[in-house]
Amino acid sequence: MATIGAFCVTLDKDQCINYRMPGKCATCAEICPYGVFSLNGDNEVAVQNYNTCVGCRLCAEFCPENAIRINPAESELVSRYPWTFGTIEEIHHKALTGTYMLRGFGTMGLTPHFDKIVVVPSQLASPAPKDKYREECHMEVVIGEETCERPIRLQYPFIFPAMSYGALSREAKLALAIAAATTGIMTNTGEGGVVEEEPYYANGFERPNRSRKTWPPGGYLAIQWSTGRWGVSADYVNAGDAVEIKIGQGAKPGMGGHLLGEKVTEDVARIRGIPVGSDALSPCRYYDVLAPEDLKKQVDFLRDVTNYEKPILMKLGPSRPYDDVKMAAEAGVDAISIDGLVGGTGCSPEVVTQGVGIPTIACIGPAVRALKDLGLHRKVKLFALGGIRGGLDAFKAMAMGADGVGFGTAAEIAMGCRGCMACHQGNCPYGITSQNPKMRERLDPEEIGQRLANFIKATAEEVKILAMLSGHGDIRELSEEDLRALDVDTAAITGLKLVGYERPLPWWENG
């Protein structure tokens, strides 16, 4: 059998009834179909033959004292695929409850991502490296320079993407706003309405009268316009510095959102403008957009309602990046975020998170080509989202042609999250994705905002190091030439040059 020797079986003697009272219990020996456990003449249980264990955990399930541990000696993906323990448990869950699996976080497991791409440093054949200490590296990204009366000037090429109040706690929202202010970047309301303090916090002010900047230099707040339109009014769209039209997100493209009535507390209800305890269902598409022309009309009226001052952004899930980005740009927006397969969420069905959408690294190239074909690359700004973990991923995304990146899950982790993936339950022990006052108390927006800011600054330094060692004093100069694919798959997906071969794969060269 393929599973021979794949599992280590251990019996905790302090817990085991048989060990204390031989003959009193032999459930494991009776239940195991493979004779992993045996009884000797004195009716004492021992692990006799763990080589035959197939990792079904029947014994652990039936042990009255929870004394048995089964650990894979090699990955279950090798030994039991496709019927891994996880798969079996998932089927049991559905069979027992009649409900599908929901969770927070993004796609888990190996999908094509940034890791099989390396950065090419400068030596002789390309412009010499830059000195990180003496020389400058331009990091600013400007959104809406030619189209808006109040363009956005991000100090670093980073944003915090939309994370809604409701999914996140009020305290987490405020920590993000403080961090955006401290680092001069942009945060986003998400689709759950605006928390009162968010607009002035994001701009760096502690009080609504904006008299003194507590968190210089001050950042920006994007206001999300989505299909549920929670708390949306003329005042709402004018509350921030930009308006983002959400079409989709990586963790659940093609789906709306659904904040269950249980999570619609009094405060959430007030900010979303809906009855307490009522389900807040964000439809999967706009009821007020039937045709592509309608999208352009929406961009136009949002510009009008915001007095032609504020950039209009659009956020897309990972579907058909070339055509989608083309349509978004043609609708007349100032920046487009495209969120890849790995993109995080506060709550999404497991099947959608795992299996729907194309990887982030496969979105960026087509998105950039669409903008180039329209003559809009670097004019309409492109932000890559979905599984960006730090400066290395950010650099790679930007060398592939994005103007900047967003940190959703990484920001949650910077706030203290350990990745339990139970965001949807609303009991986050760090107070990040919880509406429970006891948990929320643990998150001090100032302290956690500082941590987020530290993360952003350190990450910006990483990008700077990488840019300068590859010979650039300006992030706008980064290009695909700064990257190589480590394997054929990645070269095939991205069109990057394959290491060793030093050229893109033939079909990319032949068009």
Binding site: S233, L260, G277, Y287, D288, D294, D304, V305
Partner: protein, 221 residues
């Protein structure tokens, strides 16, 4: 002596040009806009003032309206009064697809007929349709009143979460989570006042009332 209203001929203007002009004119008096059918999103996000569109309007008229009174003497395009939070929108003729969607407050009156998906996701506005309404009216409504003097189409009130639909005529079918019943005295009083205010000749007691069956109509509770 009252001023004569400002008149704007929007014929050769784009949205920005017309909108800037309307806002400037509103500072002094009410405004009449002629030839505005090509403009989409006109009168968006206004907090006060009275504007009459003389003739037909384009799409998204009075989107995000937050206090203005906007009248259309002809027909309204798609998505009239989209995401309105306050004020009034009055359409003398018919409204195309998706009238009064995503509204939080204010009053929308369409004297003629209204298209499919009218009043979708209403969260608190009063929406009156003098004639018939298309399919899927008041889908996902969460609060407010939708009053249909004529007939309803298919899926009336589909997935109703909260709020009331009052309908005088027939409907092709009721949507998921809807129950039809009679109006009570309080409803009748409310209806009577509204019908009177907008000059609609109909007996408040001849309406039926559609309300949610369950307050949790979705999977996963």
């Amino acid at each position: 002596m009252a001023h004569a209203p400002n008149v704007l001929d929007a014929k050769s203007r784009d949205l920005r040009g017309a909108s800037t002009q309307v806002k400037a004119m509103l500072a002094t008096d009410s405004v009449v806009v002629k030839n505005a059918a090509h403009l989409h999103g006109l009168c968006g996000g206004l907090k006060a003032g009275e504007i009459t569109i003389d003739g037909d309007s384009g799409d998204y008229l009075a989107v995000l309206n937050d206090g203005a009174v906007v009248k259309v003497t002809g027909n309204a395009g798609k998505y009239v009064a989209d995401n309105m939070t306050g004020g009034k929108v009055l359409v003398e003729g018919d409204a195309d697809y998706g009238a009064a969607q995503y509204c939080y407050g204010g009053t929308v009156v369409i004297r003629g007929t209204a298209g499919d998906f009218t009043a979708t996701m209403n969260k608190g506005a009063t929406i009156i349709i003098g004639g018939d309404v298309g399919n899927d009216a008041a889908t996902y409504m969460m609060a407010g009143d939708v009053i249909i003097v004529g007939n309803g189409g298919e899926n009336l009130g589909n997935y109703l979460i909260r709020g009331n639909i009052y309908i005088r005529g027939d409907w092709a079918s009721l949507g998921h989570n809807c129950a039809a019943g009679d109006v009570n005295a309080e409803d009748a009083q409310k209806l009577e006042a509204l019908l009177k205010e907008y000059g609609i000749a109909a007996d408040a007691r001849s309406f039926r009332k559609v309300t949610p069956l369950s307050d949790k109509p979705f999977y996963s509770h």
